[in-house]
């Protein structure tokens, strides 16, 4: 298995190439562009035999993928921020049409004000669209998870679209050594799509019909069941991937030093790496803290969150986005998952790292300390600048 030095963006491109996608449709947006530029090179050089549709918008990109998938093609697109928001209607179309489209998303803040930097608002805002969502911590994880996402999305019990996200610049533009499986390995792990496209030439079939109240609800329930089932299937797929490559990323909620922890912080994406080093540093100073990485946000790992909470008294949830009028989305999901439990840890929500603000070890350490002390508001924005107020009040 060759080791390459890849950016997160190129990890996406290599994964799509290794998956031998039939159809790519994409539209450029910073910081996603390199993903599709590289795929364009692969197609132009003949390294990848795929149809690359240069669409005129993200909305069209996803429609093109959905329609191609309906005929049985393996499809891939990638976007970020405004592009993902423009796709929103089509995200629902994809899951409703049971189109196993795989999409790479570079997590980027939404405008206004303009920002091209890391923030999870774009993907968190899509949580109700019926897409499986994975958040990656490293470029290795980007590549591995994207390959797994194809298999998961196309699994006959699942047939749902999946997105694999990576933090803008921290992953998209940062190179790391990545072990890239060989084509033979990937072909074994991910055979060509078993063409069960619902649209078959010559057949009087229809996909997406007008549906009356007597049946619509059943269609939605089928998606709900498929999403639930995808959680089980993912374990099987990750085990298979492990057998093949020797790598396992620990399921939907991998944990770090939580066994005897007094307080655990839950993170998504690249903040996890910094938080891990903070855990080590705090432990050398005698603070029993641990870490849990929310790798899958959809389906939400309710079972794993409950297991974690059974042995921990304080959990902090770090959200790199905010749901206005409520709290961070991961926080409310964790709280909801724990409500029926008899042992309910104290919960705190940290909202930080928005619009590319660095989540420094100091800021993260502050979160662990606030957790251990148990003070401060339930929903805390611990890294706000006082200066912002000074500016506002002149």
């Amino acid at each position: 298995m060759p080791r390459m030095v890849l950016s997160g963006n190129y990890a996406q491109s290599y994964a799509a190439k290794l998956a031998r996608v039939h159809v790519i449709a994409a539209y450029p947006i910073t910081p996603q562009t390199a993903i599709v530029e590289k795929l364009g090179e692969f197609v132009a050089s003949g390294e990848l035999s795929a149809q690359f549709i240069k669409v005129e918008s993200e909305h069209s990109a996803l429609q093109a993928c959905i329609s191609a998938a309906a005929l049985g093609a393996r499809t891939y697109t990638a976007t970020s921020s405004q592009g993902l928001l423009l796709m929103h209607e089509l995200l629902h179309w994809a899951s409703g049409a049971r189109a196993p489209v795989v999409m790479g998303v570079v997590n980027r803040a939404v405008a206004p004000p303009w920002s091209i930097f890391t923030d999870h608002t774009d993907t968190v805002a899509q949580r109700d669209t019926g897409w499986i969502q994975f958040y990656a911590e490293s470029n290795q994880e980007v590549l591995d998870t994207t390959l797994m996402a194809f298999r998961l999305a196309e699994h006959p019990d699942v047939l749902l679209p999946a997105m694999v996200t990576e933090d803008a610049f921290y992953l998209s533009h940062t190179v790391e050594p990545v072990d890239v499986p060989t084509q033979d390995e990937v072909d074994e792990f991910l055979p060509r799509r078993d063409v069960r496209g619902l649209i078959r030439p010559g057949a009087g079939v229809r996909l997406g019909s007008f549906t009356m109240p007597d049946l619509y609800e059943e269609f939605r329930h089928k998606i709900a069941r498929a999403m639930e089932r995808s959680a089980e299937v993912f374990f099987e797929i990750e085990d298979d991937y492990h057998r093949l490559t020797g790598r396992h990323h620990g399921g939907p909620l991998p944990t770090y030093r939580v066994d005897d922890a007094d307080a655990v912080l839950m993170t998504m994406g690249t903040a996890t790496t910094t938080a891990r080093s903070v855990v080590d540093a705090l432990r050398t100073r005698g603070n029993r803290v641990g870490l849990a990485k929310l790798r899958a946000f959809r389906p939400f790992p309710v079972k794993e969150v409950r297991q974690l909470a059974a042995t921990v008294d304080r959990i902090g949830v770090l959200d790199r986005s905010f749901t206005f009028g409520a709290a961070g989305a991961a926080f409310t999901e964790v709280a909801a998952a724990l409500y029926p439990e008899t042992h309910r840890p104290a919960l705190k929500n940290f909202v930080a790292g928005l619009g590319g603000r660095d989540l420094t070890p100091k800021v993260l350490e502050g979160m662990f300390k606030a957790l251990l002390k148990g003070d401060g508001p339930e929903v805390d924005w611990p890294d706000l600048k006082r200066r912002a107020e000074v500016v506002r009040h002149g």
Binding site: S60, Q63, S67, G72, I199, G204, V205, G208
Partner: protein, 296 residues
């Protein structure tokens, strides 16, 4: 004995849920008769979403893929790409959309498909308003027409703006082929459809599609009104192939537009002066078309 020029094969079933006299059913029927069994139809929100009948039934013997209202052009490109990638070369991809889904909200995706050169047929059935949502004006609604959003009352005389020239927009993309067709002239209609099968690249049909409830005329008059539209030069029949215009039905002398307008309730409020203004607009467009044809 007259030769039967309309293929006998039916790809549209008798069971459908269109209004009586709906021309959009005939547009689909003729398009599919011309294309044959390899067609795959992709359909955005429009009357045909409903005409095609609810789940689990379908009105067609070929596949229908529903797509987002504004994304027909993209759906067409996706289907073509998949067919090519999967070795389904015989598949004929058809985008089938209303005037609103084509000329307004779907214009961007249509432009993308034409500019990309997708090998497919896009059919716009033009009933000159958003009919599925209950007769609201579209960019393709003609000047003076009543719709629910262009009322006729003390302050409003129906639509105050003219009809968007969709064929000109399409032509500006230099597609492989474009033509206007009218359900009132089925032989001509079929010739155009069959021609699209012989040409690679993006093809566009602008199909005239009278709508009894929306245009306020009795259902049995659909064909008569269709004929009047073309015979008055309100909806001329022509094709553009490789950039060259050819009028496919040329009349010795066109009938007065008033005959066409007066047959429909949506124009019943028009004064003689307003009708005269529409006549001169129609004459102007016809003269321009003749000039385009002579350009060769």
């Amino acid at each position: 004995m007259a030769r039967l020029t309309i293929p006998a094969e039916e790809y549209m079933r008798s069971g459908h849920s269109a209004c009586p006299g709906c021309a959009a059913t005939l547009v689909m029927r003729y398009v599919l008769k011309g294309l044959g069994p390899n067609a795959i139809v992709t359909l955005p929100a429009c009357c045909w979403t409903v005409i095609g009948t609810p789940f689990p039934t379908t009105a067609l013997n070929v596949p229908i893929l529903d797509c987002a209202f504004e994304a027909t052009g993209a759906s067409v490109s996706g289907l073509r790409a998949a067919a090519d990638a999967l070795g389904l070369a015989d598949v004929i991809v058809v985008g089938f959309a209303g005037d609103g889904g084509t000329a307004d909200i779907g214009l961007q995706a249509l432009s993308g498909m034409l500019e990309r050169g997708t090998d497919a047929l896009y059919v716009m059935y033009d009933n000159e308003a958003y009919m599925n949502t209950g007769v609201q004006r579209s960019g393709a609604t003609p000047l003076g027409a009543w719709t629910t959003t262009t009322p006729v009352d003390a302050t409003s005389r129906g639509k105050g703006e003219g009809k968007k020239d969709v064929m000109a927009i399409v032509a500006a993309h230099r597609p492989a082929y474009a033509a206007t067709v009218n359900v009132a002239f089925p032989e001509d209609f079929l010739k155009r459809v069959e021609k699209t099968k012989t040409i690679r690249g993006p093809k566009f049909l602008h199909a005239f599609s009278p709508c009894p409830p929306g245009w306020r005329y009795p259902p049995e008059k659909t064909i008569a009104i269709g004929r009047l539209a073309t015979d008055t030069n309100s909806f001329p029949l022509y094709e553009i192939e490789g950039g060259k215009y050819r009028i496919t039905r040329k009349l010795g002398r066109a009938r007065p537009v008033a005959e066409y307008l007066k047959a429909q309730g949506r124009f019943s409020h028009l004064t003689d002066a307003e009708i005269a203004a529409i006549q001169s607009e129609v004459d102007g467009r016809w003269a321009r078309l003749l000039a385009l044809e002579t350009l060769g």
